[in-house]
């Protein structure tokens, strides 16, 4: 067993307690949207390091390519042209991908033992050898990040380059970022770095600049510096107050103990009903994109 596995904080669908003696440092990726030029170096480095190559797609009248996250694209840039002030165009470009939540909805929803791991440093990693392809992680994710591969029916997402971090290196995207919009370090240092950036942005007239580290998911190990922290939705629909769906909490908190008593069936049916009809808002646009 690899040494790093001793630093596991949580495993999906596993009742064995994790070892908890070591006091490790939490890491974080900070995405300073105000420095991002949308060059996609992070996408490129991610593909290269992780040995994933998406389809060569097409242009849909926008800069975004690949169009969406996929099992082969663990991060994508989201481009938004907005005019917060009249006649003052801003091209907000947000790197999208796994937020590595402190309280990961995917892990909570996952029924496959050991398919989703949270390390004590904060990284939430998928272990595809244990993945059963059920897709509950998608339902559990407040940021709509995991994707099931058509090739092997397993879920994939950003690993925060756990293989690099595990040997003391920064993730591939962080290293590549030409403008320093992406930085990596301890979560504490990243918060401090963000504070300096926010001071600079406020001096430049962005009075609502701030840090995005949403508490609804216990904070995240991927954070954003936003010029308009009061309106995260401007950044291609970044959720303002993300939280794990109550149904996932229900499934984890009640269903499993009930199961052992053999009376969980009704709840399970309810859970599937939830999956089928809501409370998710299905966007017509995104549905057509899938076709």
């Amino acid at each position: 067993m690899a040494l790093q596995s001793l630093d596991i904080l949580r495993r999906s669908a596993t009742t064995t307690p994790s070892p908890g003696v070591r006091q490790t440092t939490e890491v974080a990726k900070l995405i300073d949207v105000s420095k991002c030029i949308g060059c996609k170096a992070c996408q490129s480095a991610c593909m290269e390091w992780n040995d994933i190559r998406d389809e060569i797609g097409s242009n849909a009248g926008i800069y975004d390519n690949p169009r969406d996250l996929s099992a082969d694209s663990w991060t994508v840039m989201r481009f938004s042209e907005v005019e917060v002030e009249k006649d003052k165009l801003e091209w907000l470009i947000r790197k999208d991908g796994c937020m590595h939540c402190a309280d990961p909805g995917c892990l909570k929803a996952c029924p496959a033992p050991g398919a989703i791991i949270q390390y004590s440093n904060g990284i939430v990693d998928f272990h595809e050898e244990n993945c059963i392809g059920c897709g509950y992680c998608i339902a559990g994710c407040p940021f709509n990040v995991p994707r099931i591969s058509k090739k092997d029916n397993k879920a994939y997402k950003c690993t925060l380059c756990s293989d690099r971090v595990g040997v003391g290196m920064e993730p591939a995207c962080i290293k590549s970022c030409p403008t320093g919009a992406l930085v990596f370090g301890t979560k504490e240092d990243m918060i401090q770095h963000a504070e300096e950036r926010i001071v600079d942005l406020k001096e430049r007239g962005f009075s609502n600049a701030g840090l995005y580290d949403p508490q609804g998911v216990g904070g995240t190990h991927v954070m954003y510096v936003l010029h308009h922290a009061d309106q995260p939705e401007l950044y291609h629909g970044l959720p303002k107050d993300p939280s794990i769906s109550p149904m996932v909490t229900l499934w984890k908190g009640i269903t499993k103990p009930l199961m052992s008593l053999g009376i969980g069936l009704g709840v399970l049916v309810g859970f599937f009903h939830y999956i089928k009809v809501g409370p998710n808002e299905v966007e017509e646009e995104s549905e057509s994109e899938q076709q």
């Binding site: 991002c36 030029i37 060059c39 170096a41 060569i56 694209s73 091209w91 030409p178 600079d200």
Partner: protein
């Protein structure tokens, strides 16, 4: 670079990438550094984050650079001289110039020839029939001693300063806005931000690239900005200067090595056919000082030239045969690519080589280029990739609709190595020669460029040896000292261009002192001699591989000054200098204008120049001697007035693109476009008019791709897979085009079809009372590679170039757009 040399003496980026972090104001105009040079652009974000710098972008499109700018102003493509001329007018009118700098370090005080004048769009000396100028009057007044006359009081109406002031007084904010389409308030806001750095302890730096060069007035775009930098006192300063961002990884190196029609290594030039006499040839280039005490460094030309000839011909080059001067080809005119493809199109060329170059995709008017290639007897393509040029004869449907059976050109395609498979050096835009190492073998039978060139040359030489033939002397006598003749090593070649002593080199002041022993590698170009005792393949690179070894491979990144000069990282030409003209970072007494960014200073104790860079001046030049900081110019100072160095005038003037959307020039309707630009017969007729083609087309690069290479690269193809054009929302609405629609873009030379990206980032501009729309056309697609096949963007572009460099006008032409 044909604008920087006429102004400052050297045609290169003056500062370097890391130095951008020292700037107070950064202007990206005529380029899109975030998109084209992202890793260099980091020093812009650094300057913002850690130097509180303000960042300005002026561009027809709200680019990726603009996305992180403090201030963005739109401009109509091809009107940068109007904008910058207006800026000069603003600086002079508001007295926002650094007076002492301008007076001492520029030609502002110099008196100009009484016959020089500018009237209604034309400078004195114009010949309409020849479309060129007699530049006799574009000169200084000289005294009996041969030196230029000057008026230190700046009162004389004929001094450069006053002529400049008069010239740009026409560029009022109203006129600027009328021509450029930049709203007046936005123009003035940019002026104010830049003018704030006219004080000695603040600098502006400009970053530009093809957005300025690819116009029929490209060189003058850059000249105008160069004048601004003189007025602001920003040249030679850390965080100042002019950052000419080169495109390819070694375009700087190949230019330094003179791989251009009329050039020899180290910015030496080939003789014209009229220059039959060697002494006269040298004399014309070994420029004597125009002001007392100036270095006029080109005085050393004979040393550089003779050393080159010794490098090429060895013992065959002797004083008696003028070091083989006759062996070098003599020019009747410059054979730039537009000229060459014109000749090829006329059927006057038989053979052509494209080494790592894709002319079918890269040159204007694809139909003309393809037609020209089809008239060749043979074409040799040397490339790591299967390029469009190598298959110009093959039918790819609408993308390349040709009949192979009718094309008689014999085409050879020779596989070459790529960067990962070879050792050698490249010169970055910062003039730094960096050595790289081979990591793996090339695929299949691919060979390095040097090996391929040697194989061909030795085969040819053998044939000349056996059979004789036309003038075989330079072929048979070319020095070929390489240990493996058909595969010279990079080490051998680098040592050759660095230069070595052929005999003991002694100190001219003390002949007992040997500076370099016979056979030794030279430490720098100061050791070169014109008596045949030194050999050097490229004088400006001298010092790169000295007796100390390969300095290009040095890896010490220590930066003691914090300014980022890293003097022990690799090797910068000239003489490992990182900031050109750094003498100008100090006041005339040798004290830095801004102590916080001391590059060099005059050390009164040791009586020499020293500091955090190699001084760009004779190290013992006492400030009282008044040796000017622009040592390559015989004036010793920078030129606001370019004398006879530019084709279309000593002061930049706004001329419309050859395909103008407004059909007039608001400054002088009688002279609309560049009167000195060369236009071939037939190409003038192929220009479109605004009536049929009402929109401004402009081509450019995207950050996801590199020219026509990365469509062969899977990752890059994934990131930007399909050809598109960008149009503003207003034009899209008028034309009923939605994002994602297929559109057809047509110019008078052809059409392309592409997906429409509809954006707020391209605004409709109000120009001379009419609405002007822009259609943005990224260039990266073609009919070979992994990305979706597309049309070659240069199907649309006009066959006309800048009057000095013949860089094609890719950035501003006329198109129509409709739903496909």
């Amino acid at each position: 670079m044909a604008s920087l040399a006429p102004t400052f003496g050297r045609g290169a980026m003056t500062n370097h990438w890391v130095d951008i972090k020292n700037a107070n104001v950064i202007v990206v105009m005529g380029g899109n550094a975030a998109e084209a040079h992202p890793c260099g652009f980091k020093w812009v974000t650094e300057a913002k984050a850690h130097n509180k710098a303000k960042f300005i972008v002026v561009d027809p499109r709200f680019t990726r650079s603009a996305s992180v700018a403090d201030y963005y102003a739109p401009i109509r493509s091809g009107t940068d001289i109007a904008f910058l001329g207006g800026l000069i007018n603003y600086l002079l009118a508001h007295d926002k110039i650094q007076h002492e700098y301008v007076k001492k370090y520029s030609d502002a005080t110099f008196l100009v020839n009484g016959d020089y004048q500018f009237d209604d769009g034309l400078f004195s000396g114009y010949d309409k029939g020849k479309r060129s100028y007699d530049k006799t009057s574009w000169s200084y007044q000289k005294g009996a001693d041969g030196f230029v006359l000057a008026d230190e009081t700046l009162q004389d109406p004929r001094c450069v300063f006053n002529l400049m002031k008069q010239h740009y007084s026409r560029y009022t904010p109203e006129m600027v806005s009328r021509i450029t389409g930049t709203p007046e308030a936005q123009f003035l806001h940019v002026c104010e931000m830049i003018a704030a750095t006219a004080v000695p302890d603040k600098t502006t730096t400009f970053l530009y690239a093809l957005g300025w060069t690819q116009h029929s007035i490209g060189s003058q775009n850059i000249r105008t900005m160069a004048m601004v930098q003189i007025l602001l006192g920003n040249m030679g300063m850390a965080g100042g200067g002019i950052n000419a961002l080169r495109g390819h990884s070694n375009i700087q190196g190949l230019t330094d090595l003179g791989l251009l029609s009329n050039m020899l290594p180290g910015y030496m030039t080939l003789a014209g056919e009229k220059e039959q006499d060697f002494a006269t040839y040298l004399d014309k280039r070994a420029l004597k000082p125009l002001r007392p005490g100036q270095m006029s460094y080109w005085q050393n030309y004979p040393k550089f030239h003779v050393s080159l000839m010794k490098s090429w011909y060895g013992d065959a080059a002797t004083k008696e045969n003028n070091w083989c001067f006759d062996w070098l080809p003599k020019l009747d005119k410059v054979y730039d690519v537009l000229q060459v493809f014109e000749l090829m199109h006329q059927g006057k060329m038989n053979g052509y080589f494209a080494q790592g170059f894709n002319p079918l995709a890269s040159f204007p008017n694809k139909a003309k280029i393809g037609g020209a290639l089809a008239k060749l007897k043979y074409l040799v393509v040397i490339d790591p990739l299967a390029t469009e040029t190598s298959e110009f004869w093959k039918n790819f449907g609408e993308f390349n609709d040709v009949d192979s059976s009718k094309i008689q050109t014999e085409v050879f395609r020779l596989p070459s190595t790529c960067f990962a498979e070879e050792d050698g050096s490249l010169v970055s835009s910062s003039r730094v020669l960096q050595w790289h190492f081979k990591g793996a073998d090339a695929p299949g039978e691919a060979r390095g460029d040097a090996e391929i060139m040697s194989g061909l040359f030795l085969k040819l030489r053998e044939m000349y040896k056996q059979e004789g033939g036309a003038f075989p002397d330079p072929i048979l006598n070319l020095s070929w000292p390489y240990k493996i003749p058909d595969s010279p090593s990079s080490e051998e070649l680098a040592k050759e261009f660095n230069g070595k002593a052929l005999a003991d080199i002694v100190d001219p002041k003390d002949p007992t002192k040997v500076l370099a022993k016979a056979g030794e590698q030279l430490a720098g170009f100061a050791l070169l001699r014109d008596d045949g005792s030194t050999a050097c393949g490229c004088w400006i690179f001298s010092g790169a591989w000295s007796q100390a070894g390969n300095l290009m491979a040095r890896r010490d990144n220590a930066d003691p000054s914090g300014l980022g000069n890293t003097l022990n990282w690799a090797f910068a030409w000239p003489a490992n200098r990182r900031i050109l003209y750094n003498r100008a970072s100090c006041d005339p007494s040798g004290k830095p204008w801004d102590a916080k960014r001391t590059v060099i200073s005059w050390n009164t104790k040791e009586n020499k120049w020293a500091g955090m860079d190699i001084p760009d001046i004779r190290p013992d030049a006492v400030p009282d001697e008044n040796v000017g900081p622009f040592i390559m110019n015989p004036e010793g100072v920078a030129r606001l007035f370019a004398v006879d160095k530019m084709a279309e005038g000593p002061f930049p003037e706004h001329y419309e693109p050859f395909e103008t959307p407004i059909g007039t020039n608001p400054l002088h309707p009688n002279v609309i476009s560049n009167p000195a630009a060369r236009v071939f017969k037939g190409d003038m007729e192929a220009f479109g008019k605004a009536k049929e083609f009402p929109y401004v087309g402009t081509t450019y690069r995207l950050t996801e791709h590199f020219h026509f290479w990365t469509k062969h690269t899977r990752i890059s193809a994934i990131l930007q897979p399909e050809q598109f054009v960008e149009i503003g929302e207003e034009l899209a609405q008028a034309k009923g085009i939605k994002a994602g629609d297929k559109v057809k873009v047509t110019s008078n030379r052809g059409f392309i079809k592409a997906v429409a990206v509809v954006t707020k980032r391209i605004k409709t501009l109000n120009v001379n009372g009419q609405q002007v729309h822009t259609v943005g056309i990224p260039i990266h697609w073609g009919f070979k590679g992994l990305a979706k096949n597309g049309y070659i963007a240069n199907t649309l572009t006009p066959y006309v170039g800048d009057a000095n460099t013949q860089t094609p006008e890719f950035k501003s032409f006329l198109v129509n757009v409709e739903k496909a």
